[in-house]
């Protein structure tokens, strides 16, 4: 195929990933075009891009998911390429087609490959044909609740209901018995439709406490495919990843080679081009089962970048421009260990309830081998319309132990005031003996959740002193004393413990 000139890139996303892509564009000398909803005028990606266009009201369906508006802005701005980031339209073949039809280079796989691999059910059919092992379940979306009940009986309970499109844990529900199936289907379809514009779901057998290990692949338009090793993403809440690392403490060189080979074969079979990720579930006996392929950049791509030294967004843009990879599997090297922690605006002490609001104080962790991929800043108001990810904290260490020590240090430095975040939970996770020993599973967090409750710790007196002094100083500055908020007791009622049972 012929090289396509890229000089100006529209970033069809928001938050930290839009910032990530804009940075890559700037470093390569490409102009960047941001888009923003009415809720995002003050978002960081708007400030960092060279140009920024308002595309509609806050709801994603009227802005970040509005294909026509995005293509129109790209043409108006004179962009020659579109990077979708992750989420939103990143795995929407119709969007990729609309870009191509408008003469824009889509920074991602060809529409056919998105259809083949991005649709989880189609991908399962390819894996079946390639004899790549996979989790038992339907290879088609379930047509109706009745059909779902029928399929569920064949697969057997407990089982997972999953969105056919999308990823990132949205549109996923665990169903332990048939009585829960209808509610699970409804919520999964709602979330899937809201997040990806498609409510299709399929059914898969539930594996108890599996490890979630995925392989990063890069494929150019000239038939070269390499893998960059694995990421372990077993620490999850609400079926969403919270902590990721590379390499996996569970994977040795031969297993890495086997998984990498399976991933590359799947990519090739799907006619895949650009960066993609093949997800596997791994059981205690090191058997791996193909789960799905994400036809986009992953949230957790930085851990692979830190150990390989390869800039994945730069590679995405190079591949989209028609450049060959320029290196073979043997040229890919790994150094040390990297861990990523997701800092979300959620209250870990209140069932991960989202916590929108204004970030009144912010001091990010910095220093040696600490990377902060953030989409926020002090004074920024986290809108209630989009997901809760504020920033990704990534560290590198000469080995896994050094990386864990560094992450514990960095998390303790990271100060976010004004909204609740996952940081307190993350600190407990990286200090947990099971985590340090590499004993991970997707059930890990549910197991240690009780320990997350605010403890009667040794710093209790210090906390009381800080709280009292804050009030004392506040009274010193103000004549009127704020009445105790009437809703404070309602918190007791609003613990959505359901997530723990879900």
């Amino acid at each position: 195929m012929t090289a396509r000139r890229i000089a100006k890139v529209l970033v069809a996303n928001r938050g930290e990933i839009a910032v990530r892509v804009i940075r890559a564009c700037r470093e390569q000398g490409f102009a960047s075009v941001a888009v923003f909803s009415e809720a995002d005028r003050e978002a960081l990606h708007v400030q960092m891009a060279d140009e920024a266009y308002l595309i509609g009201p806050p709801p994603a369906s009227e802005s970040y998911l509005a294909i026509d508006k995005l293509v129109a802005v790209a043409k108006k701005a004179g962009a020659d390429a579109v990077h979708p980031g992750y989420g939103f339209l990143a795995e929407n073949a119709a969007f990729a087609e609309a870009c191509v039809a408008a003469g824009l280079t889509f920074v991602g796989p060809p529409p056919a490959a998105i259809r083949a691999m991005g649709d989880k059910t189609a991908a399962r059919r390819i894996a079946r044909d390639l004899k790549v092992p996979m989790v038992p379940g339907t290879v088609e979306p379930v047509a109706s609740d009745a059909a779902a009940r029928q399929a569920a009986r064949e697969v057997g309970y407990p089982l997972m209901v999953k969105a056919a499109l999308g990823g990132g844990g949205k549109g996923m529900r665990l169903v332990r018995q048939e009585a829960e199936l209808d509610a699970a289907l409804r919520m999964a379809r709602n979330e899937a439709a809201a997040a990806f514009g498609d409510g299709g779901v399929y059914i898969e057998r539930y594996l108890p406490e599996p490890r979630h290990i995925e392989v990063q692949v890069l494929a150019d338009a000239h038939g070269h495919v390499v893998h960059l090793g694995e990421r372990e993403c077993s620490i999850q809440r609400r079926h969403q990843k919270l902590v990721e690392e590379s390499p996996s403490p569970f994977v040795d060189a031969p297993m890495r080679a086997r998984m990498g080979d399976a991933a590359c074969r799947l990519a090739q079979a799907g006619g895949y081009v650009n960066a993609g990720t093949v997800e596997f579930l791994v059981d205690a006996d090191r058997n791996f089962y193909f789960l799905e392929m994400n036809t986009r950049l992953q949230v957790e791509h930085p851990v692979t970048e830190m150990v390989t030294g390869i800039d994945l967004v730069r590679e995405q843009l190079r591949i989209a421009a028609g450049e060959p990879l320029g290196y073979a599997q043997a040229d890919v090297g790994w150094r040390g260990a990297a861990i990523e922690c997701r800092i979300n605006a959620e209250d870990p002490f209140n069932g991960w309830l989202p916590s929108p609001g204004t970030i009144t104080g912010l001091r990010a962790a910095t220093g040696p081998w600490v990377r902060d991929d953030s989409g926020v800043y002090e004074g920024y108001t986290v809108p209630r319309f989009y997901d809760t990810l504020l920033a990704k904290l990534i560290v590198w260490g000469a080995d896994r132990a050094a990386a864990i020590d560094r992450m514990a240090r960095a998390l303790a430095e990271y100060k976010v005031v004004g909204v609740r975040t996952t940081i307190p939970a993350l600190i407990r996770i990286v200090k947990h003996p099971d985590f340090c020993a590499g004993r991970l599973s997707t059930g890990f967090l549910d197991r240690i959740m009780p320990a997350l409750r605010a403890a009667e710790g040794r710093r209790r007196s210090v906390a009381v002193i800080a709280a009292v002094l804050a009030e004392y100083e506040r009274l010193g500055r103000r004549t009127i004393v704020a009445p105790p908020a009437p809703t404070s007791d309602a918190w007791r009622w609003s613990h959505p413990r359901g997530w723990r049972r879900a």
């Binding site: 919520m187 709602n190 979330e191 997040a195 609400r238 002490f349 209140n350 309830l353 989202p354 916590s355 929108p356 009144t360 001091r363 002090e378 209630r384 997901d387 809760t388 303790a412 100060k415 005031v417 004004g418 909204v419 940081i423 307190p424 605010a454 710790g457 040794r458 710093r459 209790r460 007196s461 210090v462 906390a463 009381v464 002193i465 800080a466 709280a467 009292v468 002094l469 804050a470 009030e471 004392y472 100083e473 009274l475 004393v481 009445p483 105790p484 908020a485 009437p486 809703t487 404070s488 007791d489 309602a490 918190w491 007791r492 009622w493 609003s494 613990h495 959505p496 359901g498 049972r501």
Partner: protein
């Protein structure tokens, strides 16, 4: 100046004197000499007996959420007089327990109960969609639904009373 700090339901009296960064506090019968500086909005640097602490104080529905080290505390601080008044007139406080207020702004996607229903701890009351997540709000204790003030599809703000339970 005297305050009552309530942590995990346990009230304790704290007396404070001092200003301009240097304070003396009495709590738990002990006297604490504290050098405290507000180094950024809500981020306090405390030196107590040469030990350095950084405490983040966030106001959350009238309570202080304090992060110090890897520990987090929810602390209600009131002037002592106000505390005495509030706890004397306990009835109002009792009723406050019976309301489910929206913990965050969002859209009600499902209401699982109606007036007259009896609920047990853990029963789903309703589902509120916010930040691309469906959040189930469940009963923390048993009771009878007196009033449902919202319906599916409705958008609510943080603090709006959604359900009243007797």
């Amino acid at each position: 100046m005297k305050f009552v700090a309530t942590v995990g339901g346990q009230p304790e009296t704290v007396e404070v004197t001092g200003e301009g960064g240097r304070y003396r506090l009495t709590l738990g019968g002990e006297v604490w000499e504290v050098d405290a500086r507000l180094t950024a909005q809500g981020i306090y640097s405390l030196l107590i007996d040469d030990v350095s602490h950084v405490a983040d104080v966030t106001d959350q529905d009238g309570a202080c959420v304090v992060d110090v080290g890897d520990e987090t505390y929810v602390i209600q601080v009131e002037e002592e007089t106000r505390h005495i008044i509030r706890t004397k007139g306990g009835a109002a406080g009792g009723h406050a327990h019976q309301t489910l207020a929206a913990p965050l702004p969002g859209k009600i996607t499902h209401v699982a109960v109606k007036a007259g229903d009896t609920v047990e701890a853990g029963d789903t009351l309703l589902v509120i969609e916010a930040m691309k997540m469906e959040n189930e709000l469940r009963a923390g204790g048993p009771g009878t639904v007196a009033e449902v003030r919202v319906q599916a599809g409705q958008t609510v703000n943080a603090g709006d009373v959604l359900i009243v339970i007797d």
